[in-house]
């Protein structure tokens, strides 16, 4: 199942619609890394609200995604991890490393706005 990637101003939003296979995840990772460059985006949001399981491959792929996007000059925020999923992840010892997370899409956008504004003013 293809994950739609929407361009919203400076940001890209990828909302996962249903459970993904490993290949779908890899494709999402590659598509996002590619489109960040094409649209000169400053931030990426991956919405995982509908996922009710997060296995080690998904966690690793999301980490890799964030690093790749970071190398291409944009920030990544994972949003919408459900309480049960979060609890299961820490019990299994899965982490997202230093990838930023937010409660939902709205929070994620706010976080990105704050982060990109700060880095822009630092750049000047």
């Amino acid at each position: 199942m293809l994950v739609p990637i929407l361009k919203q101003g400076d940001f890209l939003i990828a909302t996962i619609q249903s459970a993904l296979t490993d290949d779908d995840l890899l494709r999402l990772r590659d598509d996002l890394a590619e489109q960040v460059g094409r649209y000169r985006s400053r931030g990426v949001i991956v919405d995982v609200t509908v996922l009710d399981v997060m296995d080690s491959f998904a966690a690793r792929t999301l980490r890799a995604l964030a690093h790749m996007v970071g190398l291409r000059g944009a920030r990544t925020v994972i949003v919408g991890i459900q309480p049960e999923v979060a609890f299961a992840m820490v019990q299994l010892g899965l982490t997202l490393g230093d990838v930023e997370t937010a409660l939902d899409l709205e929070e994620g956008l706010e976080l990105l706005h704050k982060r990109t504004k700060r880095s822009a003013s630092r750049g000047r």
């Binding site: 949003v79 991890i81 309480p83 609890f87 992840m89 019990q91 409660l103 929070e107 994620g108």
Partner: protein, 307 residues
């Protein structure tokens, strides 16, 4: 009757099941006949032994009557179901009044002794028959004592479980003090089950209140072991996955020492000395600024209104 007894004594070496049930019938008839006398003996001995001091003489007599009748019924039918129900019911009534296990067990054993004695008196001239009667009576009587005691203990355990549930429910409130700021005061010992429950409540609270910062205050927690400490780290990680920052406050020096000694990795945990400091830190993270209003005239009365 006489011929019947004679036959029973003759076949005493090899009791058939038929003669056993015959003996039981005779036993029950005897107990029914002497109901008033035996019941009074029993109630008197309960009072003498200073059992059931929490209950009045009339209450003891009323319960004694009910137990006696149940006892005889069980001896007669061999079915303990009615007795089990009665034991539960009785326990429900007397446990809140402070009746202990030894008291209940004591009175049931007293009844057994009173009845056994009356059997001794009745059959004292016919020793082989007495021993046959006791063979029938004893297992039944012991079974009854066990049933009543088990019923009592089960009822107590049920009450304890109920109270544990109630304490658990009460003990982990998740409170919102500001928009996007939750506090979670934990009081009392944390066992793994409670730790899990706290985590679940917190994560649900984060979603429901759209919290960004959570202050967990453990001032009221006397000790922490490695399991609980690791669980706290997990809670912090899980909250972070949901986009919330956790601040832990109120670590006592004992707990701090324990955590350092057992080597729990707390580097991912943000800690502040006390709850006040934690809330101030949280407000700073959320961009709140608490300003004390200066009126010039009555500065003492104002701070309440501003906070």
């Amino acid at each position: 009757m006489r011929s019947n007894e004679g036959r029973l004594t003759d076949s005493a070496v090899q009791p058939s099941s038929e003669s056993t049930s015959g003996l039981l019938q005779e036993l029950v008839a005897h107990l029914r006949e002497n109901r008033t006398q035996l019941r009074e003996d029993w109630a008197r001995r309960i009072t003498e032994s200073r059992l059931l001091t929490a209950m009045t003489r009339e209450e003891i007599f009323a319960e004694a009557t009910a137990v006696y009748d149940n006892y005889v019924t069980v001896l007669e039918t061999g079915s303990v179901e009615a007795l089990e129900a009665y034991a539960r019911d009785l326990s429900e009534r007397i446990i809140p009044r402070g009746v202990e296990v030894h008291e209940l067990l004591g009175i049931v054993l007293l009844l057994r002794d009173v009845l056994a004695r009356s059997l001794f008196v009745k059959y004292q001239s016919k020793l082989p028959l007495l021993s046959r009667v006791l063979d029938v009576y004893e297992p039944a009587a012991n079974g009854i004592a066990t049933t009543v005691a088990v019923g009592f203990v089960q009822e107590r355990e049920r009450i304890i479980r109920q109270q544990q549930e109630a304490i658990r429910e009460l003990s982990t409130p998740v409170l919102q003090v500001r928009e996007r700021l939750l506090i979670l005061p934990i009081i009392g010992v944390i066992d793994p089950q409670r730790a899990r429950q706290i985590t679940e409540q917190l994560l649900r609270g984060i979603r429901a209140n759209r919290a960004k910062v959570v202050v967990i205050d453990i001032t009221g927690v006397p000790t922490v072991d490695s399991t609980v400490a690791n669980h706290m780290v997990q809670t912090v990680d899980a909250s972070r996955l949901m986009g919330a920052t956790v601040i832990v406050t109120g670590l006592s020096s004992e707990i701090a020492q324990t955590l350092v000694t057992i080597g729990v990795d707390l580097s991912r945990m943000r800690t502040v000395g006390d709850l006040q400091g934690g809330i101030e830190e949280a407000e700073r993270l959320l961009g709140y600024k608490v300003i004390r209003e200066e009126t010039g005239e009555e500065p003492e009365e104002e701070p309440e209104a501003t906070i």
